[in-house]
């Protein structure tokens, strides 16, 4: 009886949190679905009635849809490659015993604490400005013509900014993984005659497998929805319009809530496909 009682009390006490979470998720989701089937133009007549799948068809058939998907994938893929590779190298570097280890580690994590908007603005104005930016000075120092980063190499610039923000996260997770590696395993492989690079490939990299999948999974979820970095730098111009940014433009710039909502539903589907795909990989990796 006691367990029966405590179980129902537990349910009662969990209820507020569950209801809040459900509402948090369900209300916006239902509203998005609701609006995606309507022609709704707030400044041009308001709610103009149901239109079926019109919005969905229009969103996909827009000439900017496929380029947006491509831009999204390039940014996500580029950032993942850079953060994972540099993250592994940095983690191995930080794992070495050195003077001031604690301070260095905090400094490495620091970029993660800077708000995306702020860091993107700092990059845009202090580093990538073609006249006064640090990179422009560097280029001129070597006698080269400064690049106007955000217009000439817009995609590269955004990948650089976002990578800089996410590198600390990857480094941190990979560092904890490296620290959990049994040093006797490395010594054993050293005695077995494996030189440094082979030790990395045969011992360290497999040990990091799990941590790498987790980094990829978490980062993908967040990177699919980056927005601020694009908003304050290129504003979606020069081929940097991602799916998220396109939805924003449909809703706020064209004031077409219905069309934007349909885009939102596509984004949900895309995120879920990626999530299922990743969960499978992670699941396999975690079982082994």
């Amino acid at each position: 009886m006691a367990t029966q009682h405590s179980r129902s009390v537990a349910r009662l006490m969990m209820a507020p949190a569950v209801v809040l979470l459900l509402g948090w998720m369900l209300v916006p989701l239902t509203m998005t679905l609701y609006f995606s089937f309507k022609k709704y133009l707030p400044l041009r007549g308001g709610d103009l009635g149901w239109v079926g799948f019109d919005n969905y068809v229009r969103f996909v058939s827009s000439s900017s849809f496929w380029p947006a998907v491509q831009a999204t994938l390039v940014i996500v893929g580029g950032v993942l490659v850079i953060t994972v590779i540099l993250g592994i190298l940095l983690a191995m570097l930080l794992d070495q015993p050195m003077w001031g280890q604690g301070v260095v580690r905090i400094l490495v994590i620091a970029p993660f604490f800077v708000m995306p908007t702020v860091s993107a603005l700092v990059w845009k104005n202090m580093f990538m400005d073609p006249v006064n930016g640090l990179l422009a000075h560097l280029w001129r120092f070597f006698g080269a013509e400064p690049i106007s980063w955000l217009s000439e190499a817009s995609m590269t610039s955004i990948v650089m900014i976002v990578s800089w923000q996410w590198l600390p996260f990857a480094t941190l997770i990979l560092l904890t993984a490296i620290q959990s590696l049994d040093s006797e395993q490395l010594e054993a492989s050293e005695m077995d005659g494996a030189p440094v690079l082979k030790r990395f490939y045969h011992i360290i990299l497999p040990h990091l497998g799990r941590a790498i999948t987790i980094v990829i999974l978490i980062q993908t979820i967040f990177l699919l929805s980056i927005f601020a970095e694009i908003f304050v730098t290129t504003g979606g111009a020069f081929g940097t319009r991602t799916l998220t940014y396109m939805i924003f433009q449909r809703v706020l710039e064209s004031q077409n809530v219905g069309l934007g909502s349909a885009g939102g539903v596509y984004a949900i589907i895309l995120a879920n496909i990626v999530a299922i795909f990743l969960m499978r990989i992670v699941g396999k990796n975690l079982d082994a």
Binding site: Q185, A188, S189, M191
Partner: protein, 334 residues
Amino acid sequence: MGRIQLKSVTKSFGDVEVIPPLDLTIEDGEFTVFVGPSGCGKSTLLRLIAGLEDMTSGSIDIDGADATDVPPAKRGLAMVFQSYALYPHMTVRKNIAFPLRMAKQDQAEIDKRVEGAASVLNLTDYLDRRPGQLSGGQRQRVAIGRAIVREPAAFLFDEPLSNLDAALRVGMRLEISELHERLATTMIYVTHDQVEAMTMADKIVVLQAGVIEQVGSPLELYRTPRNLFVAGFIGSPKMNFIEGPEAEKLGAQTIGIRPEHIAVSESEGDWSGVVSVSEHLGSDTFFHVHETGLAETITVRADGEVSFRHGDRIYLTPRSDVIHRFDAKGLRFE
């Protein structure tokens, strides 16, 4: 083939000298055990021989060639670690084959040697499992397998049995001894357990605080320990040490008598005392005797059939020919 010679080897970590100058020769084919209490520098010494630690000064010769600056992989030694250090993402087969793959042997040769090692160690049925699916004893055997496929000049064992339960430990002890008989390769074995040292070794090296206290065969150490430390460390239960008038009678600062060299009687004897605890092992019985006026506790080993109980007064007679005498410095003299 596997003669290892250490010449005035020292090791310091910062200002702390863990191993003061030390000389030691390990003959080819010998089973040498380094034994000592924890923190005595025995593992450090093994790691110096393996090349995993750099010597502060001194030199090491392996097979007559100077190996002081030779990297671990090139010394021709194989090591079995305390944690086994198996590679968790590789199957048993790949674990054992790893050193051969690193040495770029051809696949046919690798297969042959892995199969050979597996059959010697009874691992044939487990070759396609991963270390995580094996028991402690099996993992231990994989670690040994990975060492023997390399056909090294010498094997180094770093407390390999300390993670096993008591029954398995006895079994593995035998297996390692048999392996040594079969391969006749030099083996260096580190342990803090004097029973392992006594049962397996051809030669025991007793270490304390980085200093070699005595080197000798198990029975030499048992019969003629050089000093109090070795006398107390080798043998189980520990030797009884007696100071005071009883020792002065024999002209010594301290005398030592092993528990198995004291006869027990309920009516007469040289010494008397009261039994505090008796431990019955079946084959033997150990009595811890108090109130003897000689030392706080005298431990006595008697036959399993002898049964005295807590509080009984008993009489003890030491065998006079096996009493060890020690001078003021703790050194044994005849």
